[in-house]
């Protein structure tokens, strides 16, 4: 089996990253304050979708940055590519770290591992052997986005099943039902919150970080559109 050296180009990853951080910032600025998510399913689904989206794309940025940093560099590459590589490296760590620090559930951890496995298989096993590379890059990215969309459906579905089973258990509390007990334990396990650590996105340092990174990403993306970078004018 051939292990391919494929990685996204930092400029492509940078453009994705800029778009995703613009999305992040619009959610960050306009998010409703003090909402009970248990009462608002739409907001809850959007929140779950966003978390997973930012994790998997954070993984893509991190993969790109690490691949390039471990590749061949000469001084001129540093001048042209390094700003984008550093920016996507920081954002990759930020998105992944943010995900891990916002009370992840077991199902999410399993799902992101499925997502990472899919991404690595596509990028290192499938893309190196296909003839029409561009189409397959698009298929890889579309697949990644579909996985994001599928995740809240699975999470929402599992929660609905969990609640239904919970109700049935209460109604049938007098009876011994082994199948229900096993299912209940499984759903309960998948919905288990792994830890309760959380970051405060409202503190001054985080606000500054988000705005500075957003500005740098937009600036570098615009410069790259015209063949330059922050270092080269």
């Amino acid at each position: 089996m051939r292990f391919g050296p494929f990685a996204f180009e930092p400029t492509i990853a940078l453009w994705f990253c800029t778009l995703s951080h613009c999305l992040f910032m619009s959610i960050y600025i306009f998010r409703p304050k003090k909402v009970d998510m248990k009462e608002h399913r739409g907001i809850w689904i959007t929140y779950q979708l966003g978390r997973n989206f930012f994790f998997l794309f954070g993984f893509l940025y991190l993969h790109t940055a690490i691949s390039w940093l471990s590749g061949v560099w000469i001084y001129e590459d540093i001048a042209y590519q390094l700003p984008a590589v550093i920016l996507i490296l920081i954002m990759g760590i930020y998105y992944i770290g943010g995900f891990m620090l916002l009370k992840p559930r077991m199902l999410e951890i399993i799902w992101i591992h499925v997502g990472m496995a899919y991404f690595l298989i596509m990028i290192h096993l499938v893309l190196p052997i296909v003839v029409n590379l561009r189409d397959w890059v698009e298929i890889t990215l579309i697949g990644l986005i579909l996985m994001e969309l599928l995740y809240p459906i699975i999470l929402f579905g599992s929660r609905t099943i969990f609640k239904k089973m919970e109700r049935e258990t209460i109604e049938n509390s007098g009876e011994e039902r082994k199948d229900l007990k096993k299912g209940y334990l499984l759903i309960n396990f998948l919905n288990k919150q792994l830890w309760k650590k959380s970051i405060d996105l409202n503190n001054l340092a985080m606000r500054l970080f988000n705005w500075i990174m957003w500005s740098l990403l937009c600036l570098e993306s615009l410069l790259k559109l015209f063949g330059t970078s922050i270092i080269i004018w």
Binding site: G4, P5, F6, A7, E9, T11, I12, W15, S67, W68, S70, G71, V72, I74, Y75, E76, D77, A79, Y80, Q81, L127, P128, L133, K224, L225, F226, G227, T228, I232
Partner: protein, 353 residues
Amino acid sequence: MPIYPLEKKPWVSWFDDPHQRIYISWETEESNKAIVYYGTDPDNLSLNEIETVAKTLHHVNLTSLSANTKYYYKVEIEGEIFGKGEFRTAPAPGTYSSFTWAMISDTQRTLGPGHNLKTAEALRGKNYTFVANVGDIVDDGFDQIEYDYYFGVSSIYFNTIPFVPVIGNHDIRKPSLFQNYFINSADPSKKQFFYSFNWSSVHFQVLDFPHGRQSELTESQENWMKQDLANAQSLPFRIVMFHCPIVGSAFFGRNEFLINNVLPILQEYNVTAVFHGHEHHFERGHFGNLMYMILGGGGATQDPGLLPQPETDILTVTPCYTVVKTEATSLTFLTYTTWGVLFDNYTINSEGF
């Protein structure tokens, strides 16, 4: 972002004998007839070629030119100057004089003008004898807009630098559109895009290997390639250009078909250097005495050079272009970033000349 018109300012090209005949081409939105005035004195363009048929895409063949001579031209449509420029003819066969030419590749734009614009700006106003583009001139060969864009950007240097095109895998998506703009034969039934010419001490051969597949090594191309190289053995240098690299350090790795079927021909006929595009990075290496270069820094986003091949000598993932200073017995390859930093300097000397 600028939108480029269908109208294309004049460019100069050739496919066989640039010491005495070249083509001047341009495109207009409306069908018309033009007069090309040309001569060696920019203030007195004493010669002319008059079109007899009205058309939109114009290719005017200037013949009986003097060798190693600088010419000026202007294209006049209905009394108004449509475009003007200059070119130099090749030295007569058997005579050598120094000249400088440039090479770029993969000028296709990816999500915006990218560094193709910077590459074109780097060539602006230079008096290189010609610029060779080693394929993937446009990103989507089906799309007329891509050609409008390419010519729009390149017009900033096409008035002073003639153009030597090579067909790439993106260009070949609609070969008829590519060959509308870039002629490589007087015979319109010729399907593949291969041709050759001599310039001073160098024989240039352009081949049609956009993907590096078996089907591209047709009997006609293979026979022509061998015969053409055999005829060029008296010259100090033989340069071959085709799009798909024999080996490359980004995505495509080793092309076993080209290694087994084309590389032996190049080595048998003492080819000095072979130039490619396809992979979007700059790479220089060698197969024994045969140097190869991948010139994919012309415009598209760059590919990661993560898997250097045993043949690789230098690799960079930076927008760039290469200038070749040619003397009677030496070729010096200078590769610059689009912001003007020289990062590769390599010289080949011809022994025995």
